[in-house]
């Protein structure tokens, strides 16, 4: 399903100050239109910094970032780039601008010039999708930690930008909340061909992505389909990362002498393989 490249990153290096270490060093990567791209990596590996380079919040000192052909270093293009790339920040407090939940969700849409009638429809839909409809008049800073994340996510759902960047956007949600939000995102991706870039430590989510990028100390060290990436467990473990449950369990079972194919990687696949073994009499 290789489609057109919607983001091209070439030789990107970025540091926060002239005398500090590079937070990103010579990063090359592409994002394809309509894909779900997961970004994983240890704390401080540069994931959030990279995310902020993708929507032109940070401009690289070296190299370039192009979104739909527009360079983030071109001041004239920035407005259009920010319209294309919507972002949910790691800490939702950094994102709130409105004094009520309603104002907050409306703010982004106003900026994008969405007509008022349309705004109201989208607002209601978005708040309903994250289960916050009855909190529209509340103050964002008085919400619980997970409620804040839900409102931040509603803001992006209402905007429907071509590219959504989620920076650990579901880290404080309960299990149902998390799977609901991921389901909504998957549906948006399907129906509206939205590209999703998701920074996450949640391996189940990673397993379901189209592609994964692995970052280490400011560089991209691996990129590929999750199935390929998780074929080399040792590499990931050495980077301080973990394995999806099914991969981990498969390793344990193989050690017990149970013959399982090396490419089993989703839970349902492991279930099928075990069922096959069980059925052999």
């Amino acid at each position: 399903m290789r489609k057109e490249k919607i983001i091209e990153v070439r030789g990107l290096s970025f540091r926060y100050a002239d005398d500090s270490d590079w937070a990103l060093e010579n990063v090359n990567m592409d994002v394809y239109a309509g894909e779900w791209l997961a970004i994983i990596g240890h704390n401080g590996s540069g994931k959030s910094t990279l995310a902020k380079c993708l929507n032109g919040l940070y401009i690289p000192q070296e190299g370039s970032v192009k979104v739909a052909g527009r360079d983030t270093s071109d001041g004239e293009a920035l407005w259009e780039i920010r319209r294309l790339v919507g972002m949910v920040f790691q800490n939702p407090d950094n994102q709130f601008v409105g004094t009520t939940v309603r104002d907050d969700v409306a703010f982004g849409m106003e900026n994008h010039g969405i007509p008022r009638d349309e705004m109201i429809v989208r607002m209601e839909e978005a708040l309903a999708l994250v289960g916050m409809s009855d909190s529209a008049d509340r103050e964002p800073h008085r919400l619980s930690g997970g409620q804040k994340q839900r409102v931040a996510i509603a803001g992006i759902i209402a905007l429907q930008p071509a590219i959504i960047v989620l920076d650990e956007a579901t880290s404080m949600l309960d299990p149902k909340g998390r799977s609901d939000v991921l389901a909504v995102m998957r549906r948006l991706k399907q129906e509206k061909d939205i590209t999703v870039i998701s920074i996450t430590h949640d391996l189940e989510e990673v397993a379901g992505a189209d592609r994964v990028i692995v970052m280490e100390r400011g560089s991209v060290v691996q990129a590929g389909a999750p199935r390929e990436i998780f074929k080399h467990p040792k590499v990931l473990l050495d980077l301080g990362l973990d394995l999806p449950f099914a991969v981990n369990l498969r390793e344990h079972l193989v050690q017990k002498g149970i013959p399982l194919p090396g490419d089993v990687f989703l839970q349902e696949e492991l279930v099928e393989e075990l069922w096959k073994l069980k059925s052999v009499t």
């Binding site: 990596g41 492991l270 075990l274």
Partner: protein, 292 residues
């Protein structure tokens, strides 16, 4: 230290149009030296509950008794400083507890505030930073110019440096990478085991709650709906799911395998090792070939 919660009710912005009942007659006891996890859907009252344990919030009704200090509705609390010295709390968002200009000053703030001499506080800061896996070069950095996971670790270090008797953790692993997550949870488990530190952890990770806790408290809309050992809590699959919660991943996997094979595989399993055992037994049962 024992924590007693007696008919605790908390109402935010009482007597305004925004009045909100966040805790509704919650009543339980956490024995001294226990490791207790609190789970519950978004907005169920977990953070509100634990902020009573070090006096950050006051009961609207009822009382909270931590060791020999009582925090009661309507009463003046003069012992708050003593309470906060003994009860260390890691907030849900680390940004809410970092405020100094350097990491070192930030970690030293608590100890200094409670009368620890500067030199000793600095030693503690170094120790704490090592415990959370950050290099000493971070001491001179601004806590605000850090990545999300690095901030979280500094916030945890600040609490460790207090040498508290009770540790309260509000989603301590959100934003931590897998290695840090494992290391820091092991650290809390060890402090609990070796030093008998009473530990209360709010978490959305059913797996962490299952593996680490003596007991789990389940919250729903401001009420406590269950308080039991993990083995008991996680056999109530349907109830948990109706509350927006779930069973740990090993059990979800076994449930899937059970559904495929028509067998019920619902015994508690919290680790990949336990799961491997159960799967092996499953394969060996009647008829199938035998794997050691």
């Amino acid at each position: 230290m024992e924590i007693k919660v007696r008919h605790l009710t908390h109402i935010y912005q009482p007597n305004t149009p925004f009045e909100r009942l966040a805790l509704d007659d919650v009543d339980f006891t956490i024995p001294s030296g226990a490791f207790v996890s609190i789970i519950g859907h978004t907005g169920s009252g977990k953070s509100t509950l634990i902020q009573h344990f070090n006096g950050l919030l006051k009961p609207t009704k009822g009382e909270v008794i931590v060791g020999d200090i009582t925090i009661a509705a309507g009463a003046k609390n003069k012992d708050l400083k003593a309470l906060r010295q003994r009860v260390g709390m890691v907030f849900q968002y680390p940004e809410h507890q970092l405020f100094e200009e350097t990491v070192e000053k930030d970690i030293c703030f608590g100890p200094l505030n409670f009368g620890v001499p500067l030199e000793e506080a600095k030693v503690r800061a170094r120790e704490a930073l090592e415990l959370v896996g950050l290099p000493l070069s971070f001491l001179s950095r601004s806590p605000f110019d850090l990545s999300g996971g690095q901030m979280r670790r500094v916030a945890i270090a600040g609490v460790l440096a207090l040498h508290p008797e009770v540790i309260i953790l509000d989603e301590p692993t959100a934003g931590l990478d897998p290695r840090a997550r494992r290391d820091i949870l092991n650290l809390f488990a060890r402090l609990h085991r070796e030093k008998g530190i009473t530990t209360v952890m709010v978490t959305h990770s059913m797996d962490d709650a299952a593996r680490l806790s003596d007991e789990i408290i389940v919250m729903d809309h401001g009420r406590m709906v269950m308080k039991d050992r993990p083995e008991a809590v996680f056999t109530r699959t349907d109830l948990l799911r109706s509350l927006g919660l779930d069973i740990p991943e090993p059990m979800r996997f076994l449930q899937r395998l059970g559904a495929r094979s028509g067998e019920v595989l619902s015994e508690p399993a919290f680790t990949v090792e336990q799961t491997a055992e159960i799967v092996t037994r499953f394969l060996n049962r009647e008829g199938g070939p035998s794997w050691s």
